[in-house]
Symmetry: C2
Subunit: 384 residues, 2 copies
């Protein structure tokens, strides 16, 4: 198996963008080519992580258009969709293309254009991934988040405030991320007094609807050395599912897909959770940061909330989580999010994270589709 | 690089089906598990080739639902979309998952549910892959086919009848395919007198709109030997694009994606076009069978039509093409078609093709998206 390196990364401004999906993808793709110092004709595989350009814009075949726009023809192209974890699935596809020997230079671009549709139209597209019977009864993703948050608080005797502190922390980090949709601090009272969405979760427990794109350049480690003295390797990666029929799960506070995908990633990388210096988790809802931080093995079951209370996951804590601002403040353009998580880890490992910089040699990104329906976990390490 | 084997294959009845995408995928998936003699809990990767379940049915996240329905949780899942060549792209994804060492057992299921929508709704979904400016001027895929057919006939002094003979041949083959949408012979007069669609092409020069699904089981060759004495290997595979702005192509009668993807596949398999004993080509329009048969190197440029006239591509000819009946008579459920092509090659190489059986040790499948926008070519060989 080829060792797979990342030699460049980029992300566009996230937020409400006056650009179509094709333009957003080209913007991140070109920036990544520039960052990696790679000529478009060196690209042999080009993957696009995107959930729903057809539903959002009536435009399909976007990878082909992107190959044209980046002058990357005749590179092989395909679209990878795994709903809100399409970005992580794209990373796995890109990793496989290089690790299998099929590609010497793979560009992955993830993106989504959503804000031109109304909030209810956009959430309807997302809700199309849920189980039809649950959907019919109104149990969409935010509802599951509310129900699970209630169960978690009760089961582990956690205060409601601890959830709010996830939002406060991630907003604080987002202030220093020039690409973030929201660059403003919020205090705990603002979170706790924001409109109720799915009891006990309130507006500030949820990520926004966002336009944006992000990109990564992958190649064999032997090729990476021709381009750079310092780079990052994907030392471990894994993917797994849990049932999309959430009411059939034995314990909704455990995300089986996170457990299984991270076991694979740790084993491949030959690292333990303790070895991880910085992590980007899929905080689509605040409660998800607790669940993932436990299911990834960072903290004992039921203790993730304490880590946030105690500042362990702050930027100056023992394990900084969501230094980018997370989906919460950075925004969540579905197909882009998993790629943007890896962009942040890449920036941290390369010492390019500016005001957000932490000390890190090993980082982890966990991208979650649906309510943990499908998950990819990626371990990345600096090579200097 | 792991040598990748195929140890099972299946396809559902193609045609107008009273079943949703999720049911069609499960039907082919279960049949493939049975054919391969593989337990669902042995599957670690599960890919779904599908272009547009969201647009056609308002249902996304289908791979997750399939993992549930096949009892394959917590297998990793993702959807692979490359418009009408999603099936071929799924084969490439499955090949990469095994060749990279990420998977020991990958199930690929391709499918599409289309006939519940009107013909104009269905063709609108397909047309969403074309270039917006070309689309606005009415130059959709059938129009390109008509323009290119006219150019080809003129350039290479080919008779209009030769195109009709592709339809006659493929319908004749489809009679012996129990899964085909149309199992009836048509004579040349019927083709030539059918309603004009895009001059010079008529109704019988086009494939129909179809529901259906097909599946393949992939594993390392070392694992294949535990399951079967005889199996098939993917000895070569490649993928490439051409510009989706068709009017910018230097010569519309040459499909660059076919040329480049087949060069990769031949080189990996270490075979020449002459070594191919049986081939499935993407005859969405009759003219495409000529173009691919030339761009794959089976015949000289401008001579593909002569091969059909002379019976070379008949079932008892030197190089049988589309023994399955092709997209023309078998039908074209977008995400399924590339997988069903490989199903036919697998059946031929394993001696399981019944009344359609030809003598073959090496087969090739060429799956085309858009008007040659993206193409995958797969070379498969029998191992006994």
């Amino acid at each position: 198996m080829e060792s797979v390196a990342v030699i460049g990364a980029s992300m566009t401004q996230f937020g409400q963008r006056d650009a179509w999906i094709r333009e957003l993808l080209a913007e991140a793709g070109q920036a990544c080519l520039d960052d990696a110092g790679v000529s478009p004709d060196a690209i042999d595989h080009l993957y696009v992580s995107n959930m729903a350009s057809g539903e959002f814009e009536g435009q399909t075949g976007v990878p082909n258009a992107l190959a044209h726009d980046l002058s990357a023809l005749p590179a092989y192209t395909a679209r990878i969709d795994q709903t809100s974890s399409s970005g992580g699935a794209g990373i796995y596809a890109a990793w496989q293309s290089v690790a299998s020997g099929a590609s010497e230079m793979t560009l992955l671009v993830g993106g989504e254009k959503m804000t031109h549709r109304s909030t209810s139209e956009a959430t309807d597209v997302i809700a199309s991934l849920t189980h039809p019977v649950e959907y019919k009864h109104g149990v969409t993703l935010p509802s599951f988040a509310g129900l699970t948050a209630r169960l978690y608080l009760d089961e582990y005797d956690a205060p409601r405030e601890s959830l709010g502190k996830v939002a406060v922390k991630n907003h604080r980090n987002g202030v220093d991320n020039p690409h973030a949709q929201f660059r403003k601090e919020v205090d705990l009272d603002t979170v706790l007094e924001s409109p109720l969405v799915a009891d006990p979760l309130r507006l500030y427990d949820f990520c926004p609807i966002t336009d944006g794109s992000a990109a990564l350049m992958f190649c064999p480690e032997s090729v990476a050395r021709e381009y750079a003295d310092e780079y990052v390797v994907v030392s471990g990666i894994g993917g797994a599912t849990d049932t999309h029929v959430v009411h059939e799960r034995a314990d909704p506070t455990t995300m089986g897909g996170v457990v299984h995908s991270s076991e694979q990633a740790y084993e491949m990388a030959d690292v333990d959770p303790d070895d991880v210096d910085v992590a980007e988790l899929h905080d689509m809802f605040t409660i998800l940061e607790f669940l993932q931080s436990e299911d990834l093995g960072f903290f004992e079951k039921g203790e993730g909330w304490k880590a946030v209370e105690e500042g362990v996951t702050d930027r100056d804590g023992a394990l900084p989580i969501n230094t980018s601002g997370g989906l919460k403040s950075k925004g969540h353009p579905l197909g882009a999010s998993g790629v943007a998580q890896a962009y942040e880890i890449y920036a941290q490992l390369m010492g390019e994270a500016g005001a957000r910089q932490v000390e890190a040699e090993t980082g982890l990104a966990c991208n979650v589709g649906g309510f943990g329906n499908c998950v990819t976990t990626t371990v990345m390490e600096a090579r200097r």
